[in-house]
């Protein structure tokens, strides 16, 4: 008999392959905070910048929203996660900064140190 645990394990495997199908294994994963607090601080504009960049063909990037990590006065926050590197966490990101993150970090691999949360 198939147990609930077997069913969940199968569903998990399927879920993971769907996530991978959406490009999860890309060299860079970008997460934008989209809780009420983050949105109030302007994260929708930030998300739009990344979405537009992806629409216009920015390659090698997996974009996702996330809830808030809880660092209120540094919101909106954006994380760039890359295999083999410590995830970079940017704070107080504006639409203009997001554009810079696209150009400098996502395209050229530069961590913009001044904006990183310590």
């Amino acid at each position: 008999m198939v147990s609930p645990l077997d069913i969940v394990k199968k569903k998990r495997a399927e879920a993971i392959s769907r996530i991978i199908g959406k490009g999860y294994l890309a060299p860079k994963r970008v997460y934008v905070g989209m809780a009420t607090c983050e949105i109030a601080a302007g994260s929708k504009d930030v998300m739009e910048v990344f979405e537009k960049a992806v629409r216009q063909g920015l390659a090698g990037v997996y974009l996702s929203q996330k809830g808030c990590a809880g660092r209120c006065n540094l919101e909106p926050t954006v994380e760039v996660v890359e295999e083999g590197r410590i995830p970079v966490k940017y704070g107080k990101v504006t639409a203009e900064m997001a554009q810079q993150i696209v150009e400098r970090h996502l395209k050229k691999g530069e961590t913009i140190k001044d904006w990183v949360i310590k």
Partner: protein
Amino acid sequence: MAVRYQITLCDGPTCMHKRSKEIDAALERELASRGLSGKVDISLSGCLGMCAKGPIMIVNPGYTIYGGVSENDIPEIVEKHLVRKQPVSRLIIEEDHLYNRFFRVFGDVNFFGRQMRIALRNCGIIDPENLDDYLSVRGYEALAKVLSAMKPEDVIAEVKSSGLRGRGGAGFPTGLKWELTAREESEEKYVICNADEGDPGAFMDRSTIEGDPFSVLEGMIVGGYAVGAHKGIIYIRAEYPLAVKRLEKAIEASRNEGFLGTNILDSGFSFDIEIRLGAGAFVCGEETALIHSIEGHRGMPRPRPPYPSVQGLFDKPTLINNVETWANIPVIILDGAAWFSSIGTEKSKGTKVFAIAGKIKNTGLVEVPMGTTLRQIIFDIGGGIPNGKKFKAVQTGGPSGGCLPEAYLDTKIDYESLAQAGSIMGSGGMIVIDEDSCMVSIARFFLEFTQNESCGKCTPCREGTKRMLEILTRITEGKGAEGDIEKLERLGNMIKKASLCGLGQSAPNPVLSTIRHFRDEYEEHIKERKCRAHFCARLVRYEITDKCAGCAACRKVCPAGAISGIVKNRHEIDQAKCIKCGLCYKTCKFGAINKV
């Protein structure tokens, strides 16, 4: 060494006990001897929950966890891992606790690294609107485990032995509550999630739901199975539209995948969840008022017993728990009660989420093991008080809680020790107060809130809080009278004893605790008509000093015509005419006006 390594040493009590301070020193020495000082970042974390395998060291990038590390292992780790980039396999431990994912992404930042995230384990990590993301982090595995291999009694026994206590404020043992609901004979039972979150300044539950609604659902389904209920209700305030939307999406996705509805995962167990919106009254967070509100009645409490476990929603046995309580359940099932109860203090197990705000550098959500001190939260994680100001007090527990002064900073976070100190754990609000705040006004602020929110059903709360507020208002306006403090104490204690529900029973706490710890400030207000924080507008005197350049700006803005003077000469304030609006103070470009 092109990669910049970051090393985290566990600074939790157990690892500390196993000499991690010596490891720290050995590491510094070894790095120095190889000329690597300053090229590796070292940080200390709070308890990492791997105490049995401590002392723990984590090397990033890569998130390699070393366990049982001693000083003698340090040269090898530095040589092999940091220089030659080959992890030392004999020391690596595999840990698959649920919270690790959060630490992987955020652990190197001090604010996060010192936390331990169990309830908030997925917040900031997964896409809260995507069930696939939740499944990928072992989502719904706890439910599956329960349905596959545990009887309802087993689940209850597990929750009981975990030591989990309710996170909604009162700290009632969760397992016992489940047992009391389970043993009632009834065809119909209900499970409720209390997401009313009415404390001003609190946002733990909102963040939990907005960051990971699935964990709450999973906890509720497990709870339903354990007590024999088939229907769950989430009571959430309408002011949380995004949280509501994410819950709706999560419920629908979970139903489509067979985690909710009839015959869940082919187990024969059926359970479904619906959402009820509250209009945002503080008293509707109280469980009996909440139940009335769901039933369509006015949100007013009733005396207990009977407790909801016996006679709850529509008079049926009802299990009601807080959002954070529910979010802990999947972890207890998967990582085990033994692991969960290894974290925390003797009587308070696991972690607690706090929303820290007020006069603090790093405002935010903090989840720490029970037993962490207030000082560690406020200074090590919160970064202390901004602008060089002095710490004065910390308010915990919101309008039902109290203020603790500096002498209590080493109080450990747990239900009993906070109560002993004169405050409460509450649901997790934590407001830091600096020297510029007036304690009488803070007490007045909270009492004004509870007074407004008092439902009016019982006299002590309805009338008593009103009288207390009148007295406090008088004191802050400089009209306090001898005996007011005693009157506040008498009224406060009476209201606590005689009120019908928890609202009235705790409403006087902010006043009583500030009288206990800051009595001299009350006395100054009453006897000397003085507010040392210069906060109470009526008690402030504005004076113009020698720095005055005679620009006449203050004279022009004064709405009362209280300032006189000749241009280029020092001006003067007629105290009899002054209405203490503070406009002159704000206008003066020379800093020539003092508040005294």
